[in-house]
């Protein structure tokens, strides 16, 4: 009946095996490489987590946010501020604080804007990030444009594992909440057809809001770890628009609305940028590159790299884009009424 018959048992075993290999690889990394590579993979872990959290609101819920960096920055500043001499909080305790603050901001910004069309939400989140950057630049207790330092007294390996565990936790949360729970079905229903979801008893605004708050709290934790790791933060390093841009591009390149898409995208892009940086040393060129990449992916590869995984074909967003043969059983194209979808 189906064009691609993938025996369920074999594919499950295969993915379990690859997962084990990857976990083994990541878990033992510091034991067999030098600090340079450990730092790079810490970056990969961080970006994988950041992209995954963006994917919650952008991919699963279908509301594109252009201001996620605001939450990353909030987490970074929360940790940095609380670890200042005089307050001296324990690092681990600062993380939940950042997450909660970020969640509150998401609630405040999301509540009026998620009721509306996606375009308003995109604008509002983007404006939030820009406004936050300006405020942080001006206000004293954030160190203004000069930034803040955090005590630099931990090892490379510590940060690696911290980032890795935090990211892994994020993926686990996404898996449990969005792939395996009732909530996930609701979120995806809202994305696919909001009117229908409403007519089936789903409180779409509430669902969107929950997804958004979740997508805000998670990067805040990563931000906190980042602040401690790089020992010095300022608006440019943790609130720059490029950070959101990268989250967006990584998710899109990897695969929107797919569990592993962000991880794939983050790994590919981060390693590429590191390589490019080492050989050409231009960071503005990187901006141009990810901009072009975003545009090209949207045009030609909307499913991202995940579209190339054979098993993922059954779960793809748009079959037509890859021009696969039609399924034989009663298939006759989707009723894509695009005029009904407004931004």
């Amino acid at each position: 009946m189906m064009v691609q018959e993938v025996k369920p048992k074999r594919s499950a075993a295969l993915s379990a095996l690859s997962l084990i290999v990857i976990i083994a690889f990541l878990a033992t990394l510091p034991l067999w490489t030098d600090d340079y590579w450990v730092r790079i993979w810490t970056g990969v872990a961080m970006w994988a987590g950041l992209a995954a959290s963006w994917n919650i609101i952008g991919g699963y819920a279908g509301y594109i946010s252009f201001g996620q960096v605001a939450f990353f920055g909030i987490g970074a500043y929360a940790t940095a501020i609380l670890m200042q001499p005089g307050l001296d909080w324990n690092f681990f305790l600062t993380l939940p604080v950042g997450a909660v603050v970020a969640g509150v901001f998401a609630l405040i910004v999301g509540w009026p804007t998620l009721r509306l069309r996606g375009a308003y939400f995109a604008i509002a989140t983007w404006a939030l990030a820009e406004a936050l950057t300006q405020i942080v630049n001006t206000v004293d207790f954030t160190g203004g444009s000069f930034g803040l330092s955090t005590p630099g007294n931990a090892e490379t390996g510590f940060f690696y594992y911290a980032m890795l565990i935090a990211s892994a936790a994020i993926y686990l949360i996404v898996f449990l909440l969005l792939e395996r729970s009732r909530f996930g079905y609701k979120v995806k229903a809202v994305r696919d057809n909001e009117a229908a979801a409403q007519s089936l008893g789903i409180n779409t605004t509430s669902v969107k809001l929950q997804a958004f708050v979740l997508s805000a709290a998670l990067p805040a934790v990563l931000g906190g770890i980042d602040a401690y790791w790089i020992t010095f933060i300022n608006p440019q390093s943790v609130l720059a628009g490029d950070i959101t841009d990268q989250m967006v591009v990584m998710s899109l390149v990897g695969g929107l609305g797919h569990l592993w898409g962000p991880a794939i995208g983050a790994t590919v892009l981060y390693l590429s940028s590191t390589w490019l940086n080492a050989h050409f040393g231009s960071s503005t060129g990187y901006i141009a590159m990810i901009g072009a990449l975003l545009a090209l992916i949207v045009l030609f590869l909307p499913d991202g790299l995940v579209g190339f995984l054979p098993r993922a074909r059954n779960m793809r967003l748009v079959r037509q884009m890859l021009r696969l043969p039609e399924r034989p059983a009663g298939a006759a194209g989707p009723s894509a009424d695009t005029s009904g979808d407004r931004p």
């Binding site: 229903a189 009117a195 229908a196 979801a197 409403q198 007519s199 089936l200 008893g201 059954n314 079959r319």
Partner: protein, 237 residues
């Protein structure tokens, strides 16, 4: 207590009066058909009843409770189900996932088995794992119907549910409608298919230009000169 009671319902879009003062009741277990030319306000009426759009004025009550101005999801939770004129499947989810997404709040654990029941009743078990986007138009309508069935609503609004559906699927839908009617459900049906209207509707409301112009049985409607001229057309002999 009426299943549905509508009182002087009005809805305008800018200068256009889509629904211009509609009042009617639907008794429990009735199947009422709504017919009328395109643009007569039928679908807008459905949107008003289901809470998809708010009325400009007037009142709606569902099973005795006032639901005017309530959001669509609340009305759905109070026992109203509806299909849409253009099928609205969740295109990136499979048929089974579509059904699961429709499960009633608080009944998640029984949702899976209920979905199996619905799949069987509608004879779509063989496409349960297909993406909704790949279904034919008729299958998508069947899926919409199935989604409603997951929730077991008391009152069901069907908007041209058999339009463009092949005869076999049409039979399935009609059989299910009859079953549900037996179990005490109330139906409000927008249709252009007069055969269908004649066979299953007990009472018919005729709309034109946002107003109700006639109410009665099919025979009465078919005899009414005005309705025939404006909309039905004379039977070919």
């Amino acid at each position: 207590m009426n299943a549905l009671a509508v009182s002087d319902l009005k809805r305008s879009f800018g200068g256009i009066r889509a629904v211009a003062g509609v009042s009617f009741n639907v008794a429990v277990k009735e199947i009422v058909g709504i017919i009328g030319p395109n643009g007569s306000g039928k679908s807008t009426l459905f949107n008003l009843l289901s809470g998809t759009i708010p009325p400009s004025s007037g009142a709606i009550s569902l099973l005795g409770r006032d639901v005017t101005h309530q959001p669509a999801y609340r009305i759905a939770r109070q026992g109203l189900g509806r299909t849409f004129q253009i099928p609205t499947p969740f295109i990136n989810m499979t048929v089974r996932e579509n059904l699961l997404a429709a499960a009633v709040e608080g009944e998640w654990r029984s949702a899976r088995s209920r979905a199996e029941e619905v799949l069987d009743a509608l004879e779509i078990g063989h496409i349960a794992d297909d993406l909704a986007a790949t279904l034919s138009g008729g299958q998508q309508r069947l899926l919409e119907f199935g989604r409603i069935q997951m929730r077991d609503p008391q009152i069901i609004l069907l908007d041209e549910v058999t339009a463009g559906v092949n005869p076999r699927l049409r039979q399935i839908i009609l059989a299910r409608v009859r079953d549900l009617r037996q179990k005490g459900k109330t139906f409000l049906v927008i249709e252009h298919d007069m055969e269908l209207v004649r066979t299953i509707c007990e009472r018919i409301i005729v709309m034109d230009a946002g107003e109700i112009v006639f109410e009665g049985t099919f025979e009465e409607v078919a005899r009414n000169e005005r309705v025939v001229d404006a909309y039905l057309g004379r039977p070919e002999t």
